[in-house]
């Protein structure tokens, strides 16, 4: 049941490349409370800045704040890329 139901290529916070601006579509269900209070909410615009070694947390920039997000938790966050004009 963990598998993604859609066959189409879907981006998550865990897979987007560093530096790619994205908009959050859905934060998933697992411990979403932790993400919500840090502003990782549907509609929020963010960019992955760095990632910790050994598959550690990804450091996300949201406006002026930086939030480290556990990689496993990040797989549940669906995002869509922002095309810069």
């Amino acid at each position: 049941m963990r598998k993604s139901e859609s066959a189409t290529q879907e981006w998550t916070l865990a897979t987007i490349p560093v530096g790619q601006p994205v908009v959050v579509v859905d934060v998933g269900s697992e411990r979403s409370d932790l993400l919500l209070v840090h502003g990782v909410r549907p509609g929020a615009r963010l960019v992955v800045e760095t990632e910790a070694p050994f598959g550690g947390p990804r450091v996300v920039r949201l406006g002026r704040s930086r939030v480290a997000v556990d990689r496993r938790l990040a797989t549940g966050v669906r995002v869509t890329p922002v095309i810069e004009s």
């Binding site: 411990r31 919500l36 909410r41 910790a52 070694p53 704040s65 930086r66 939030v67 480290a68 556990d70």
Partner: protein, 670 residues
């Protein structure tokens, strides 16, 4: 609350009638209590620095999210007006809850605030305004401090304070907590509102949410309806029991209960409003990257972050060891030269019975000396180092870097903080496990803390090995201790039911530590260490002294022989030295020598005369791992209760003896 000197003083001058008339005429100044201002803000917004500016106390502020653990109440005076300032732990939302504490709204409302001073990041309103809106929805008067204004401006972000004030219908002040800019004015404003609110206390139950927040009308109506039912004395069963209890007790106003019950529907709206308002009031030139931003990225990057982490950790330990050793030398020389002889004469004169006087001297002389030579120098130095790292914001980055490593042990990267502290002293490290969220994580971390050699046991490892077998063996002993701790941690993680909570951590910007704040914080923590550890140290020494001086130590030694000789391959004296190390860690070695000389004569002055290198190695490793000292067990009991404390201590003991026995067989001494 500490004191109400000026209020009670002025009361004594007026008659009851005057007092009564003055209260009716001027309801703003209810004379029987001071107005209460609650300080609210997200973690790391500089709230504690803010308080420090007002109260002149710098102790409990840290550039690490969630470091103000309890609620601090202080009487402050601004512009000749006194008020009680309640500093609440940093919080992201009303429903935030850390292990063992009530939800944030409960902490806030239990403080019975007359007004809220909400501290926000002037450069990141979209993130900070939701909490402000949530406070306002509780029906409390609010004042907003747009703090860190200097950092925001350095990034090219300005703020239309007037417009924000209009939108929020509340006073907004531009503040820079570090330099005290705007702090007094913001607080004075909050006290003014609080005094005004006190006169009409609870009368506002009659008004609707004022001013009407820009929430969708349907939501406002439904929240309003719940509030109206509560006001009418109804207790709707679909409301959480703790809210209803609060309404009944008078701590939670009906409108507050209604908005808290609707938190899940209100919160998304608050974030939308916050983003819209932030965009409206923030004036951005081009966004500038500051040096702190770039450095912040470097310290968490995989390529440079890790080597920097290693350098920083080793540097911190090296600094602690170097300065600590130096301080220890100075203090113990001063004690043995200046205090000890006089003290000995004094005690021997006052107590003429030799057994009793020697026992007392164990406590007063060698007990206090060990505090001076081990406890104080290493712990104090370590606190200063860690406080500086905390204030710089670097500690949060280390939590991110080490997250993956700690995950294997069932812990988030934040666990690095208590474990680093444990190398100084286990007692404050147990308290430091409060940075972890769940009880499970705190227990696992406490177990690892108990297995971590503190400065006292490290000293024993070094002193037992370096002179006889060289530096390399000592390093190997530390390596073995670390290995055992990791294996035991893996085992504990597998055994203990439950799962680890994933890391989501806001990274504070890197800042230059404020020396005064660093020193004050280190001193504050140090003081609580001294008051906890000293009585235990004295008591422990007294027990050891009594056992030794009365000869009661001999039967215990025989009792322990199967463990020391059979399991660990050590002579009986070593067994008792290890057992009594529970009372005083650093005494393990000293005691071993004293007992050995008593047993084998003067020739036993050198450890190598009665222990072969293999035995020394086993002795050193077991000392490093062994049961936490009594002070640590006390700290464990205070945090988790006696059952858990004994469980952790027992697990530590089993790990130490098990690995010691295995090691003894590997090196061929048993």
């Amino acid at each position: 609350m500490t004191s109400l000197p000026s209020v009670s003083g002025s009361l004594s001058h007026c008659s009851p009638i005057e007092l009564a008339s003055s209260t009716t005429h001027e309801p703003v100044a209810a004379a029987d209590r001071l107005p209460v201002v609650a300080l609210v803000g997200r973690p790391n917004v500089g709230k504690s620095t803010f308080v420090a500016r007002v109260t002149g106390r710098y102790e409990e502020a840290a550039n690490v999210p969630g470091t103000t653990v309890g609620t601090l109440r202080r009487t402050v005076e601004v512009g000749g007006r006194e008020a009680v300032l309640v500093d609440l732990p940093g919080s992201h939302s009303m429903t935030d809850q850390s292990d063992g504490l009530p939800a944030f709204w409960q902490l806030l409302l239990d403080a019975r605030p007359d007004a809220v001073l909400a501290v926000v990041d002037a450069g990141d309103l979209a993130m900070h305004l939701p909490l402000v809106l949530a406070c306002r929805d509780l029906g409390l008067p609010i004042v907003v401090a747009a703090n860190l204004a200097d950092e925001a401006e350095a990034h090219g972000i300005g703020l239309d304070v007037g417009r924000l004030s209009q939108l929020l219908a509340a006073p907004v002040h531009r503040t820079v907590g570090r330099r005290g800019v705007g702090v007094q004015a913001a607080l004075a404003d909050a006290i003014r509102l609080a005094r005004r609110g006190m006169g009409s206390s609870h009368a506002d139950d009659a008004r609707p949410m004022t001013p009407v927040p820009p929430y969708p009308p349907a939501l406002v109506r439904s929240v309003g309806a719940v509030a109206a039912r509560l006001r009418a004395g109804e207790r709707p069963a679909d409301l959480p029991a703790d809210l209803l209890a609060g309404v009944e007790a008078g701590t939670v106003r009906p409108i507050a209960a209604a908005t808290l019950a609707a938190a899940e529907r209100l919160e998304p709206e608050r974030w939308v409003i916050a983003a819209r308002w932030a965009a409206e009031v923030e004036t951005r030139e081009e966004i500038r990257q500051t040096r702190a931003d770039r450095l912040g990225r470097i310290v968490t990057s995989p390529r440079l972050g890790l080597p920097l982490f290693v350098v920083a950790t080793l540097g911190a330990l090296w600094l602690t060891m170097t300065v600590g050793t130096r301080l220890a030398e100075i203090l113990s020389t001063a004690w043995t030269g200046l205090v000890s002889p006089g003290l000995t004469t004094l005690v021997e004169t006052v107590i003429p019975v030799p057994v009793v006087s020697s026992t007392v001297l164990w406590a007063l002389d060698s007990g206090l000396l060990s505090m001076l030579a081990v406890g104080i120098p290493f712990v104090l130095t370590f606190y200063v180092v860690i406080a500086a790292l905390e204030d710089s914001g670097y500690l949060a980055s280390t939590a991110v870097l080490s997250d993956r490593v700690f995950n294997a042990l069932g812990l988030p990267g934040r666990a690095a903080i208590p474990l680093l502290a444990a190398t100084g002293c286990n007692v404050p490290a147990i308290y430091a496990t409060r940075v972890l969220h769940s009880r499970r994580e705190r227990l696992l971390a406490s177990f690892l803390v108990s297995l971590t050699p503190c400065s006292a046991s490290s000293a024993v490892i070094v002193a037992a090995l370096v002179p006889y077998t060289g530096m390399g063996t000592a390093l190997a002993a530390f390596g073995v201790v670390a290995l055992v701790a990791i294996v035991a941690g893996l085992g504990a993680n597998a055994i203990l039911p439950g799962r680890q909570s994933p890391l989501v951590l806001e990274l504070p910007p890197l800042r230059l530590p404020i020396p005064r704040q660093v020193v004050a914080k280190a001193w504050h923590r140090f003081r609580s260490f001294v008051t906890t550890a000293t009585p235990v140290m004295l008591g422990g020494s007294l027990v050891i002294g009594a056992l030794y001086e009365t000869g009661a130590i001999k039967p215990i030694e025989l009792l322990l022989a199967p463990v020391s000789a059979g399991l660990l391959g050590l002579p009986p004296v070593a067994g008792i030295a290890l057992a009594l190390a529970v009372l005083r860690k650093e005494l393990a070695l000293q005691l071993l020598l004293v007992l050995a000389i008593a047993e084998y004569g003067e020739a036993a002055r050198s450890l190598s005369s009665f222990l072969v290198p293999g035995q020394l190695f086993v002795f050193a490793v077991v000392t490093g791992l062994l049961v936490p000292c009594v002070a640590t067990i006390g700290a464990l009991a205070g945090e988790f209760g006696w059952r858990r404390a004994l469980m952790v201590s027992g697990a530590t003991l089993a790990t130490a003896l098990g690995s010691g026995g295995l090691l003894a067989r590997l090196v061929g001494v048993a």
